[in-house]
Every structure is written in C-alpha cells, then in structure tokens.
Symmetry: C2
Subunit: 347 residues, 2 copies
DNA sequence: CTTGAAATTTGGAACGATCTAAATTATCCG
DNA sequence: CGGATAATTTAGATCGTTCCAAATTTCAAG
C-alpha cells in the first residue's frame, strides 16, 4: 500500500547504472555520455522521481534559496520589489523565501534566524524600523551575503541599494519652485528613518537654494500611508499661511493628499500641486496622473537580486553601497504654474 | 582560519552529554531532565550553534515549510492574502515559501515542482488562468495537502476557499436597484475565469429578479486592473443608452472607472454609482470611499492557512469546498438615489 | 538492602544526495 | 596490436540530524 519514496538508487537500478552517474545527470554534468543520460532521464520520468533538496543541501552545506525580508508587504512598493527579486532569482535557478515583518523587530529576528537554519545563500532585506547593526552582524560572520534595500543601516558592513532620495527631493522641489510655488509643504512619513531624513534634507536644500522659507511649519509628519496623507493635508490646510504645493513622503501619502484635497473640493493638479515619491504602478493610471519621483521598485528588486547573486557566486566581495539614480516623472498632479485659483486659495 | 560548522556533536561534547540528548532538547522533548536541558542550552548559546534544517528534513522526510503560489503579487489583494497566510503559518512554527507566477502556467509548474523538491508540507494556491486538474494531480498523489484560494478548479480533488462571488454580486446589484438605477453595467474582468462567471451570473440574476434588461451590451470586459477600468468605462460611456451605475469586476477596475469618470468631469458617487469587489485596504480611504463587496483578503489568507494546517496535522482529510461569506460595504462611491444629475446624463 | 518501575540518557543505524579518487572503457596512433 | 590518453563510470565515505531499541540511573516501596 504505502509507496516508498523514489531515490537516486531506484533510478540507478532502473537505468542500469550507478547512483553516482545518476547524480551527475541530475546536475547536468557534461561528463556523462549522451546515451546514458537519456536512459537515466527516461527512468526518472518513468518512476516519477522527485529530487530531494534537503539531502543535497546537507551534503553541500548551502541551499539554492535566497531570502527576502520586507517590512510591509501590503505596501505595493514592496510587493513590486519582491516581484522584481523573484524574477531574477528564479531564472538563476534559485528560489525565493519571502517573509513580511510588518515592521516588527521581533518578527524580523525570528525570520532571519529561520532563514539561516534553512541555509539560505543570501538575503535581501528591507529592514524594519529600528533595526541595528547587531541584528545583521551574525549573518556577516557566517559568510552569508546581505543586500539592504530601500533603507540603509549606517555602520552595517553589508551592501546596500537605496535610491537617491536627496536628489529626487531636490528635483521635485525645484520643479515646483520653477512653476512659481513659494509655499511648498513636505507631507507624511515618520521622522526617525534615514529615508525620511534624506528626502527631507533634499526638500530643505532645494528651498534654501531658491531663497525660500525653510521653517518647520510646513513639514507635517504622518503614517506613510494613504490614510496618513489625508490627515497630513488636513493639518496643512489649517495653517494661516497655506501651502500651494506639497512634496509627499511617498506615493501612498500623495494619494491620500489628493483624497483630502477632493474632500475639500480642491482638485489636485489644478488647485494644488502634489508630487509623490516611488512611482508605484498606480501612479501612472490615477486621475490625475501622479507626478512623482520615479524609483521603479521592480527594477530595484531586480538589481538588488543581481547584486546579491554576484556576491554569492564570487565568494566574497567588498560590500558596495549603491545609490540608485532617480528621475522626476512629470505628470498631471503637479499642475500648471501657479495661476489664479491657487493664488486665491493661498492668500 | 576556517571556522568549522558547529553541530550537535560539538554541543554534546561541550555539555558533556550524547548527541541524542541534544537532539531531544532541540525538539523540546519533555523526556529530558531540567538540569541537562539548561546545560545544553547554555552550550548552544556559547558556541553559536545554528540548527540545520536540511539535515533534519532529510531524516524526517518532510519540512516545516508551506508554499504559497499566487498569480499576481502586484495586485494588493494577493499581497494582503499572502500576509494573512504568513501570519498564521509563522505562528504555527512553519515558514512560508512565496512564489509569484504572473499568471504564467509554465512558471507555475516550475514553482510547484521546486516546492515539492523542497518537501513542503502543504500548498496554498491561487492558480494562474488556465490551470488544469492535471497540474495539481501529482501533489494529491504525493499526499501533499493543497488549498485553492480565490479561484476554484472544477474537478480538482483538493480543498478550496473561495468567496461567495454570486451572492456578493447579487447584493451589490440589488442595492443599486433599490437606489433607483435601471441601467447597471458590469465592467472589467476576463470572461474565461470561474470568478468572472460567478460574479457575472450574480449580476444577471439580480437584474432579472428586478425585471430589468439583462442584454449583453452593458457587460464590458477588460483587464482586471486599474487601467482596464479606465478603458471599460470609456467604452460604456460611448453607448447610446448610457448606464447610471456599474458593478465592477474588482476594486482595481473600480478605481480605474472612477479615474475614467473624473477624466470626463463626472464625479463618482454623485454623477455615477460605482461598486467594486474585494475590499482592498485602499477602498476605505479612497475619495470617494469605495462601496465594495467585502472579501477581506487577509482574513481569507488566514483561514486558508488554518484549513491547510488542519489538513497537515490530521494526516488525511476529505477535501472541503468552503465558500466564504461576503458582505456589501456601503460607502460613498455608490452615491445617493438616482437624482437630477444622473437622470440628466443618462438620457 | 532488593527490586521493579519510571525517568533519563545513549549508541548506532538510518535519511538521500554529493564528492573524491580510483577503476573501467573507448579511442587514437604509429 | 600495444600503449597512452581521453572519456565515462563507480564504490564508498560523508553531510548533520532523528529515531529506535537498549542501557543506565533514580526512586519508592517492600
């Protein structure tokens, strides 16, 4: 009744060769004769053999798994990132272990430990808020390559791939200033992340460069989500001197800001200029199409995966810190130059 | 120089016990004496031991991995579903293998094969379009429990958890009819899926029940995406007899429809009623908030995972086909009763 | 003390692949 | 045909854990 598992020995017997030869065939070795290869493959199909990776990993000491740890999978930025990683990882014959930490350090620790136990060959991590150098140290010590994405951890001795947040923010604000805006807000995001800091600094620098007010009143934090955007813009509109434009921490916030504006019967792109950050897929198709700093999450995932694979294959490499260039995708939500209506509401 | 891997034997030696005892401790067996357990745990910490799951799996013939295969991770419905699965799977001591097929059958086959090789204990699959019974048969034969989610595959001998698409569509259309709509469209989606068929049938049935026109002209297919929604509503507005309301295939389409309406200077919820399907997180915070058939993707993920775990633990169970109840979340986008403006544009 | 049962601990054989080094077979050339 | 070289194939050890059966220790009761 109970069917035994089919192993290399079984197919060796069936094909009339030794298990070593079967192993060679499984690995696609060029050493083996075409005729025997065919015989073996036939037997494999015949018996419905399923390769046992656990056994292989045991001997080889490292599996063909790469792990990816993200801090918030429900944010489509990270979902797209994961898709990008999966794409290249799969075609390199690896398989992806994906875990979501929901921004919880404890979960992140568990997840990374579990991946180590499974013998992952490398890890791509978008760290949860508050991750420290020490959380990654054991990986480095064990010789497991790590690529940090999106968020960097200062002092960590691993590679990182983050987008040029500062330059992106500068470009966005310059664009708004060129269009005549004088009161530009920075909306959304939590102040304790490196990403926030960089975008914020770019915003300030561009403002300063244009000789504009860089006081703190126009900077309003919130959760980096759509709902956060709604509350941020609400607060902004309570100010005595209202902004006429805003650079948002990310696209989710920007969408929320648009929602909030509409709730006040203001049309984003006409009555108020909105620029986002990240360029998630919906940015293009939204109405109005969202002007945003284009980061291409899927592309970032692909590049992170390539970087990681390079490190895995070349044994040991110096950690690289790559900043990924960024461009401003100008669409409708940043509107035309400041015109009648904007002047009107801003006064 | 080269540090050797630390194994049970090493910690056995360090703790002055046998490797069997260490193994017992590792598994949290109640057989072992408290004092020795402490000694062993100390040694484990001391030497920085990392459990080798490959070795364990080899012996035990099945790993604590559950696989989840989704057809489109960039769709936030599935991202949320995956998060729900991850949640319960992790707390049950399993770890999740997530793969995205991008709706490609070939990729799906590879991915499922790879998961088998890794010895997954069970699989949650949202199958790619065109998946056939034969694609799942080998899993059943190998005694690997499978739970299908979202899309069912008629004739497959596995459990499934799908939402009550028919009832949801009926409820949505009834609601629109009660509000006075007489020309209700069904927008978006591909006609060759079981999900489409069910929602569509619900739409028809409710229309018929109200004695309304069920001719095909008001049914307009499109890609089940935001962009698809835009094109679908454009087509709908070209009709000589325009609809005043629409049930959309899913929320992404519904958002696209809202976008398309705005592009024509029509305000969703005021000039035209829109109802979506799925209730993704953005539905609540969008403006106008989207009325939608609430499916709670994360909850579905959790339930699917629980169902799967039940099957894994209880050895062998009869496949169950669960249809998950659904409720209409009435928000702003379906507007008030047909009023002045709607009559105006619809004539 | 003995003794039997209960509580702990343990040696050694798996698990199913890979790898090394050596054996076998085929091929070539004068 | 002999010998050398190249091409294939193979035996057997090995990876790090779990599991079985048996051994040892502990303990309570007689």
């Amino acid at each position: 009744m109970g069917k035994e598992r089919v192993t290399v020995v079984d197919i060796a017997r069936a094909a009339g060769v030794s298990k070593s030869t079967v192993s060679l065939v499984l690995q696609g070795s060029p050493l083996v004769n075409e005729a025997t290869r065919a015989k073996v493959n036939a037997a494999i199909r015949e018996l419905g053999y399923v390769y046992n990776r656990s056994a292989a990993n045991l001997r080889q000491a490292r599996s063909k798994i790469i792990g990816i740890v993200v801090n918030d999978l429900t944010n489509s930025f990270f979902a797209e990132l994961a898709v990008g990683v999966d794409e290249v990882v799969q075609s390199a014959g690896f398989v992806q272990f994906l875990a979501n930490t929901s921004e919880k350090l404890e979960r992140q620790r568990e997840v990374i430990a579990s991946m180590r136990e499974h013998g992952v060959s490398g890890l791509i991590i978008s760290p949860a808020r508050g991750t420290e150098v020490g959380d990654l140290a054991p990986l480095g010590a064990a010789g497991i390559p790590v690529v940090l994405v999106v968020r960097d951890i200062p002092g960590a001795d691993v590679s990182s791939l983050i987008s040029d947040n500062h330059a992106g923010a500068v470009a966005a604000v310059r664009h708004l200033v060129e269009r005549g805006h004088r009161r530009v807000a920075f909306l959304g995001g939590f102040a304790d992340t490196a990403v926030f800091e960089a975008r914020m600094r770019g915003y300030r620098d561009a403002l300063q460069e244009a000789g504009l007010d860089t006081s703190e009143t126009l900077t309003i934090g919130s959760a980096p989500s759509r709902a956060g955007g709604v509350t941020a813009i609400e607060q902004a509109m309570m100010l005595k001197e209202r902004p006429t434009a805003a650079l948002c921490f990310n696209d989710a916030v920007a969408f929320g800001v648009c929602d909030g504006l509409r709730a006040r019967r203001l049309e984003p792109g006409e009555d108020f200029a909105v620029i986002g950050f990240d360029d998630v897929i919906e940015a293009k198709t939204a109405v109005p199409a969202l002007t945003t700093v284009s980061v291409d999450p899927q592309g970032m995932g692909e590049r992170a995966a390539e970087l990681l694979l390079k490190q895995i294959n070349s044994g040991r490499v110096e950690p690289e810190a790559i900043v990924s260039p960024v461009r401003l995708a100008i669409r409708q939500s940043c509107g035309a130059a400041v015109g009648r209506r904007m002047k009107e509401i801003s006064s």
